[in-house]
Each structure stands twice: as C-alpha cells, then as structure tokens.
Amino acid sequence: MGRHLLSRLWHGLIVIFGVTVIVFVVTRMVGDPVAMMLPLEATAEQRSAFEHELGFDRPIAVQFGEFVAGAARLDFGDSLWQRRPAMEIVLEKLPATLLLTFLGIGLAIVLAIPIGIVAALRPGGGADQFTVSFSLAGLSIPQFWLGLILIYLFAVRLHWLPTSGTGTPAHVVLPMITMALPALARLVMTVRSAMIDELNQQYARTARAKGLSRFRVVGVHALRNALVPILTLAGWEVIRALAGYSVVVETVFAWPGLGLATMQAIERHDLILLQSVVFTVAALVVVTNIALDAIYQRVDPRMKLT
C-alpha cells in the first residue's frame, strides 16, 4: 500500500507539473493580456511600452526559466489583473469554494442515497416515477435560474434569507441548495439505476429467499456492490465543483470563491493567476483521486489497482 501511495503521489506531481506547463505555453500563444488591461483608446505605442514593462516581450525561454524557478518556491508572481501575489489570491478564495463544494455536494450525496434506494425498490412504481421525473427536471434546469428563483422567493418575497454575499450561516443556505440540487438529481439517477441492476441480480433474490431482512439485503449487500458507479459519480461531482464549475453559483450569490476568480482570470488573460489556479486545482484533483481510489479498494476488494 505504501509503495502504491508513493507512486500515486509521484504521478500526481507529474500531472500538476504538466498541467501548469501546458497552461503556461498555451496562454502565451493565445491572446494578449495587455490589450485587455488598457482602455480601448490607448495607442499602439502605449500598449507595447506596457508589454515591455511587464516582461512579455522577452523570449519565451527566458520567461519559462523564470516561471519554473518561481514555481519551485510556489511563487507564481503577481497577478496581472489584481497586482498582488497570485498564490495569495488563490489561497484567499479557496476556502469559500471548498466550503460551498463540501456542503453542497455533501448534502447531495447524503440525500441521494436514500432517495435513490427508495426509488429502486419498486421500479416503475409511484415513488419511482415521481423521483425520476423530479430528477430529470432537476438536471435540465439551468443552475442560474434555480438560484435566482430561490433568491426571489426566500429573500425578496419572504425575507427569510439574505439575497447574496457571505458572513453568516444564513448566507450559506441558498448557495448550498443551488449547488446541491443538480448534483442531487444526477446522483439520484445513478444510485437508482445502479441499485436496480444490483437488486435484479440472482444473489439479491437468493438472499431474500434465505430469509435475510429486506434492509440487510438492500442497505448492506446491494448498496455495497452498487457503490462503485455511485462513488465514481460522487467523486466526479466534487472534482468538477473544485475545478471551477462552482462558478455559476458563485456568480449568482456573489460568493467570493475560486471558480469566479478563475473565469475572470481567463476573460482577462491573466496568465499568472491562471497558472496559480491551475496548479492548485491540479493538486486538489490529484488528492481527491487518490482518496477515491483508496475508498474503492475498501468498498470492493475485488478491484486490483495499479
């Protein structure tokens, strides 16, 4: 196990490094951050002077050398857009995204498993049809629509909750629900379909025939076997949220997280902030994957992993 972990960490480092380098190369090839930083009416001379000051007219090899030296110290330089150290920005915004992701996706996972199981118990029955329709609706609606409607109902009409921002536990409620709902819909569908497949298997019927209680058969044996696809999707939801897909919720609720900062960095071609963000996200993805594979092993010992 130790050797395996070590090799995964090594691979993880390669991934992190690889991603950061790719971003470095690619962002310097496409688009020009200077154009976006100055007002439209600035002249061409003003632009090239600015570019010179920022060091972007130096040969790419020189820039790359400087970048690697800095990256080793986790110093990616000052964000072009915000004029302060990029890593500082990332670390400042990361907790907000982590909180939103874990609360939101966590809620979705916790609710999806019982709901999906109940639906799978009697496929085609009333509860199942209702659950399926609800889930399909849930994953077809745009997240921003859901967020705005929730704000309108609970904040503007009922005044129960604040419309946006952070600060108190009350501020977390609506963003958490908006984050959770689409993930819940997807997870419920996955849990239901996986459980239906398991419950159809011979062993389930045999176990029941042998006299095991329904709860044991479903909740312990079938669920355990169905966990692989469920875990895959749950882990995937977490990773996607961390990798920037929380941007819609963060925008609608003015939640100062990393997803929003990433999108703004892309729009402004802030290469330096992008490098910092991608580095951090890659690290998170690697860690989450290692954790996920470890959970796979525990859940399904049949799986032989590399």
Partner: protein
C-alpha cells in the same frame, strides 16, 4: 399470420417478427410509449423546422418586444409563446433551436461517450501502465479550465457548430472514462470473464463481448445526464460568442439570452428550459425501456405479468 408475413422467408421474416415483437412490447408499456412519442416529435420538429415554425426566427420587431404568451394579458395569437428582447417569436426560435441543441447534444454524447468508454475500457482492463497513463491524462484534463480550452481551440479553428461539438466533447469524455474504468475493474474479477480469458479469447473479444454488455446500463444513465448538461453548457459558450452565431439559435442560447430579463419576461427562459426538460425526459423514458426490453429476463417477467393480469380480469 398475415399475408405479408407469409411471403417472407428466412432472415427477412425474422426481422419482421422481431420488429412486431418490439412493437408489441412498446404498446404495452405506457411510459415507454410516451418516451417514444416525445423523441419522435423532437426529431420531426428538428427535421422539418422551417415548415412548422410560424415565423422566421430571426425576424425582429422592436416595437413588439417582450410580449407575453397568448394566454396572458397583452399576449396575441400572432406570437403564441410571446416574443423575446428583439421582438422575435419565441415559438419559432424554439422550433429552430431544436436542431442545434439536439445535434450538439447527440453529437457530443456520441463522440465523448465513445472515446471515453474506449479509454475507460483500456484503462480498466489492461491495468498497469495503460491505466496509469490514461488516468493521469484524465486528471490533467480535468484540472485544466474548460473555458480556457474552449477559447484556445476556438481561437485556432474559429467558431462553428463543428468546433463547438469538438470543444464540448474534449471537455466531456473524462467522466465516461472514469465511470467505465471503475465498472470494468469490478467486473474483471468475475468468474466468467476469467473463464473467457482462460479459454483463450483474445483480450479485445473479452472486452467487447463480455465486459462491455455489463456497462450498458450505467453508461446509458450517464449519457442521458450528460446530454442535459451539454445542452446547457453549449448555452454558456454560445453566449460568449464561442458557439452558434446569430441569427442561428439554440435552446441553450435562448436561455442564456433570457437570463437578463428573467424577472420581467419569464417565458424567455421557461419555454426553452421546458423544451430541454422534455427532451431529456423523452430520451430517458425510451432508454430505460430499451434497457429493460433488451434484457430477455425482463421480457419474460413483463410477459408473465401481463398474462397474470389478463387472467385476473373478469370476463
């Protein structure tokens, strides 16, 4: 047996019988029928959009902006579902938008799903270096901001429906690979797979004939979820100018455009959103029926259920 059936011999007869068989199956499953109807309706709408749509989807009328649907105050019969922010007919845009949305959704799901499944199969089945390499590739792509990738590709290739499908597929194959890999890893150890290997089946054969059929169910579920997600993701890209260009439209783009006016003209977002929901529902119903109907065990069960039910009915 009808005269038609009698005239067929051999394979043609088998096909005819199996089609009749499926037809009989679907007739007895109400929800599946609904699903089939929805899907057929969608395909026909997309195919014959120009004939069905009451107006030109790009015909604007700045004096008739943001009109509500006909059943509300100030609505008119000319614009059944109201008009958008430029006075264009929502219904016509909905009909024409189906083409892009369905094409992009189906295209991406097939492309990303196909590629991702193959990658997942290879990673899961062969393990070792292959698995490590493919999974690290997945990790790398996941950490890379999707929007950035879209910008880069589109800066090079230029916006069009083809490049849109390519971008969404490149951003979307990873989930299939992970899902398939996970399933393959657990299935690989099963006795019959081992047996197939021992007998001497080539790896590819084992993979495609023995492992893959087990994955159909979770893959189908995933594909449907992804379809819904893709249609909406296309909205974000098109809105930024990275997808369909005006006057072409798609459901997703209409939703994105309507966001600004959500509190003033709810119909701009609700109708395209409902269209997306309907398509997803239809595809899902059809797919879940397909899943059941293609499983001989299930067909037996439903036949038995019907027989019992018929016997129970009072004569």
């Amino acid at each position: 047996m009808s005269a038609v059936a009698e005239s067929l011999r051999g394979r043609p007869y088998e096909l005819f019988a199996s089609v009749r068989g499926w037809g009989r199956e679907i007739r007895h499953d109400k929800t599946a029928l609904v699903g089939l109807t929805l899907v057929v309706l969608l395909v026909l709408t997309a195919a014959f959009a120009s004939l069905i749509a009451p107006h030109d989807p790009a015909a604007q009328n700045l004096r008739a902006r943001l009109l509500p649907p006909v059943w509300l105050d100030k609505g008119t019969w000319t614009y059944l579902l109201g008009t958008d922010h430029l006075g264009r007919d929502v219904l016509s845009r909905l009909i024409h938008g189906s083409r892009v949305s369905l094409a992009v959704g189906a295209g991406v799901v097939l492309l990303a799903g196909g590629f991702g499944t193959v990658m997942g199969l290879l990673a899961g089945y062969f393990g070792g270096r292959t698995d490590a390499f493919i999974m690290r590739w997945v990790d790398t792509q996941v950490a890379f901001p999707g929007l950035l990738l879209a910008l880069i590709i589109l800066a090079v290739v230029g916006p069009s429906m083809g490049s849109l499908i390519a971008v969404l597929a490149i951003n979307g194959w990873m989930v299939y690979a992970r899902m398939v890999r996970g399933s393959v890893l657990s299935v690989r150890q099963l006795p019959y797979v081992e047996a197939a290997e021992m007998v001497g089946c080539r790896s590819l054969r084992v993979v495609f004939r023995h492992v893959l059929p087990n994955l159909v169910s979770p893959l189908l579920t995933l594909a449907i979820l992804e379809f819904a997600r893709i249609v909406l993701a296309e909205a974000a890209l098109s809105f930024l100018g990275l997808g369909v260009q005006p006057p072409a439209t798609s459901w997703g783009l209409d939703v994105a455009n309507g966001k600004e006016y959500m509190f003033r003209a709810w119909w701009l977002v609700t109708f395209p959103g409902a269209a997306i929901a309907m398509s997803v529902l239809g595809i899902n119903l059809l797919a879940s029926w397909l899943r059941i109907a293609s499983d001989p065990q299930e067909r037996e069960k439903s036949f038995a259920r019907r027989a019992v039910h018929q016997r129970r009915r009072p004569t």
